[in-house]
Symmetry: C2
Subunit: 314 residues, 2 copies
């Protein structure tokens, strides 16, 4: 079954970015959102995203056709009429999620996949009480979803294998790069890694080892450049010379363990929050914040194209 009709629940930043990606692919998209301003917002975000989608080769249709293929409605039943795939982007709190899923299930047939964009919740938690838990899974993107290719596809305890297969094929068809964890874990995979990096980033500021600006620069001018191409495992393999990762681990493993033992365990107490915010303010004073999101997106397009050109990623 070729998926051609998608419903996005929630027309916020993430939902609108998903919608733009789906629409660019020529799909019929309905965004369900109770906010009256949602339609204008989704249309504006679609128009803004369009040149980037074109540059990435992800626009298979015209902006006019994409606009015509979009519906925005507050009505759940109308939004789900004839849908084949639901991308759920509601608030990341379990009782709310369960309510939303019950609302979706009331209006769709049993074979319609419900993929949740949740970063904090697990599919198994959302499956509790569901009528058809086998079609529920997490499809977690990174912001902005139409530019950053990663989707973490995380089945829950009751997710059917076919659900994963279908969802994977669907997202891969949209040029996404898919990670399927072997089991569920709070934060899935990428946000656990992000949290680990952030903990030490906070520690370095809280302990007065470096400024917020220098911590950020130490990432983006250094290892961050490599992380856009390859993850930590392959990076250490390449740092191991002829002997690769095994050589690295057998020779520098003990040094790595000592480094781990020296990492910090900060708290986000009021004093630390103040230090982080004032440090960030100092950094912001030296950049043009008004154009930051636009420049980030333009650079992300160039990065995605560069890594694809060199055989890294889809």
């Amino acid at each position: 079954m070729e998926i051609q009709r998608v419903t996005v629940i929630g027309g916020g930043l993430i939902g609108a970015s998903w919608a733009a990606l789906f629409l660019a692919h020529g799909l019929s998209v309905t965004v369900q959102d109770i906010d009256k301003a949602a339609e204008a917002r989704v249309l504006a975000q679609l128009a803004a995203a369009w040149p980037d989608l074109q540059a990435l080769g992800l626009a298979r249709t015209t902006l006019e056709a994409a606009q015509a293929a979009l519906r925005v409605t507050p009505d759940m039943q109308a939004a789900l009429q004839g849908v084949q795939f639901v991308q759920e982007c509601g608030p990341d709190r379990l009782p709310v999620k369960r309510e939303i899923i019950a609302g979706i299930e009331a209006h769709v047939t049993a074979n319609v996949i419900i993929a949740s964009s949740s970063s904090a919740l697990m599919a198994s938690e959302m499956q509790q009480g569901a009528a058809h838990p086998g079609r529920i899974l997490v499809g977690h993107p990174f912001n902005p979803p139409h530019l950053v290719p990663l989707v973490e596809l995380v089945p829950g305890r009751h997710t059917e294998a076919e659900t994963v297969t279908t969802a994977r094929a669907f997202y891969e068809g949209l040029g996404r790069e898919i990670v399927v964890p072997l089991r569920e874990s709070r934060g899935h995979v990428a946000n656990r890694l992000t949290a680990a990096l952030y903990r030490e980033a906070v520690h370095l500021v809280a302990e007065g080892i470096a400024t917020v600006e220098d911590v950020d620069r130490a990432v983006s001018a250094g290892p961050g450049l490599r992380w856009a191409l390859m993850g930590p495992h392959l990076t250490y393999h390449m740092g191991g010379g002829e002997g690769g990762l095994r050589h690295y681990l057998e020779h520098l493993g003990p040094a790595q363990e000592r480094r781990w033992a020296d990492l910090g365990t900060p708290r986000l107490d009021a004093a630390t929050v103040d230090a982080l915010v004032s440090g960030l303010d100092a950094a912001l004073a030296r950049m043009d914040e008004t154009t930051l999101a636009r420049r980030r997106d333009a650079a992300l397009v160039a990065l995605v194209l560069a890594r694809r050109d060199q055989g890294f990623g889809a």
Copy 2:
């Protein structure tokens, strides 16, 4: 004093990459290395690096002129004749470093800066027993130094302020992006952040949450792309919407702390090393490893240009 004559101690991968960067800038460079094969190796690395240095706008001379401005010698005294700046790239063990520094100091005047590429040692440790500790500091690059702009400039207890000022101006003139930590710390800044990310990357594999390949993909197709442009602090600020970082921390700080509490503390024992190596082998089987370093460098050039174009970094 304009620095025009530089000596690189150690003609390995890092030393040769530094030499290529210095030579591209039109400097006279002597590489000191006791290995007879060093000269051929440094020349080969220079030629290989040249197109990338040109693409980055870092080549202010011709390859022929750069080759002519290079000397490679095993002799310490000859290598240091008339030098103004020493980039030390010897083995990262304290007794060896101290010996090398004593060897350098025997042949240079007191105002010559000695910058160590050390990632594991601190300048204060290397200053012990030095004749002129005020001119010693860490100038730690990321591999490969001629492509990755970051230099961590870390003064030790006895480093004179003028040493930092002069070294900063020197590196900035070479298009480097400088981080100066407020105080010394094992691993400086970037390698502490790298270690923090790697610890969770190992944990995810050791606990069977995800494969090596998926952990790496979860970085490079996701947050890694953003980290090539901005560090974790600015990233969370942008994720905080209108309220920015303070809003993020005040609303999601407790969730972040819970995520930190759930992070792993793996050991690099034999079983874990085996799991990491076999997982990496599976990933390598799906890529062209013979061209990996070349493709990485080509992509790094494109990334550095893209972030520069959009006002991120030098």
